[in-house]
């Protein structure tokens, strides 16, 4: 799955909904295998994508995966400066082009581990938890 999708996934276990630790999931940086896929860069869309994202969760997952270079506040609407363009290009690479091909992620509340195989996250629960 693409990095952007991590921004929409929480622990599927109902009882974890009352906790604030069920989102985002915690990605195991050592187990996650990343691949870059080419997608056309469109800065005007990227700004709109940022509107839809929880920046704290972007930072958290980026850090799990070893990227600590993001600004601590969500980049704001831009005056097409070169510097801003550099940030947007980095975000394009991270959010849209980075694919987690294999890996695992854990709920910070209950500790349950979910797996990503062949780029597909498996959020199904064993019968006793469903």
């Amino acid at each position: 799955m693409k990095f952007i999708t991590t921004n929409f996934l929480k622990c599927p276990i109902k009882t974890c909904d009352v906790s604030n630790d069920n989102y985002p999931l915690q990605y195991n940086g050592e187990k996650c295998e990343l691949q870059q896929e080419n997608i056309e860069y469109k800065p005007e869309f990227l700004i709109k994508i940022l509107d839809r994202l929880d920046w704290e969760a972007v930072l958290s997952v980026a850090q799990d995966l070893g990227n600590t270079s993001l600004p601590s506040n969500k980049p704001q609407i831009l005056d097409d400066g070169v510097e801003k363009d550099a940030i947007l290009r980095d975000l394009h690479t991270l959010l849209l082009q980075t694919n987690i091909v294999e890996g695992e992620m854990k709920c910070k509340n209950c500790g349950h581990v979910y797996y990503i195989k062949n780029s597909i996250p498996n959020l199904l629960l064993p019968p006793h938890l469903a």
Partner: protein, 230 residues
């Protein structure tokens, strides 16, 4: 008329597109200008969720024809791993044409309904559920290679509504403020009663298409949150 995607899967394990699938495609096509009017504005980046994607025909149709707009994150979901594989292949077989200039991501998820999805994120939701009345909703087959995946595609428990009702009762937690849902019913689901019930809970509900298919009468309804101004 918009082209129907090419598809080809193992129909012993994945639901074969049928009248219900095609009615849903026709409904979404007839809603095209409505959907564009909401989502084309301001370069909005929508989240599109299809529950129970099966062969992938519906998500692929949306993606291929830039519905609701030429950008967005498409999340097709199924509990059947074979359906996820089939969906990936159907998507690959039917890329959007260059002139649509799309910027889209398609990420299929193995998941039960919306269990692992952050709340109030979905802008367009589409669901062709297991709607056939039955004793009970079947359990997941114990292993991927076991039989029983097709039963899960069809059998919807009491009134054929057990799975659909789970979703409807939680719809206010699923849709974004702009959110729209299209859900397919058969006559034995008594969709008019559902319409009244949902309207009573503050939803705007519209019948989009209705069609006789063999001995079934299938229909597609649209659900939107009524905006309240406090």
């Amino acid at each position: 008329m918009l082209a129907t995607p090419l598809y080809n899967c193992d129909y012993d394990r994945v639901y074969e597109p049928a009248e219900d699938s095609f009615l849903l495609l026709d409904s979404l096509e007839s809603e095209l200008s409505f959907l564009r009017s909401i989502f084309e504005k301001d370069n909005y980046f929508p989240i599109i969720l299809e529950i129970g994607c099966g062969s992938g025909i519906v998500t692929t149709f949306l993606h291929q024809h830039a519905i609701p707009t030429n950008k967005g994150l498409y999340l097709p979901v199924d509990i059947n791993p074979w359906a996820i594989d089939a969906t990936l292949q159907t998507i690959k077989k039917n890329p959007p044409t260059k002139d649509l200039q799309t910027t889209t991501i398609v990420d299929p998820l193995l998941m039960d309904l919306v269990a692992g999805l952050k709340s109030n994120s979905v802008d367009l939701l589409v669901f062709n559920p297991p709607y056939v009345p039955a004793e009970a909703v079947p359990n997941l087959p114990p292993g991927t290679n076991d039989e029983g995946w097709l039963d899960l595609a069809l059998l919807g428990g009491e009134d054929g509504l057990v799975v659909t009702n789970k979703l409807l009762n939680n719809l206010h937690n699923i849709l974004s403020p702009k959110g729209v849902a299209y859900i397919l019913f058969c006559a034995r689901n008594k969709p008019q009663e559902i319409q009244l019930r949902m309207e009573g809970h503050g939803w705007k509900v519209d019948l989009i298409e209705k069609r006789k298919a063999g001995w079934e009468v299938l229909s597609v309804y649209k659900f939107q949150k009524i905006k309240t101004n406090f």
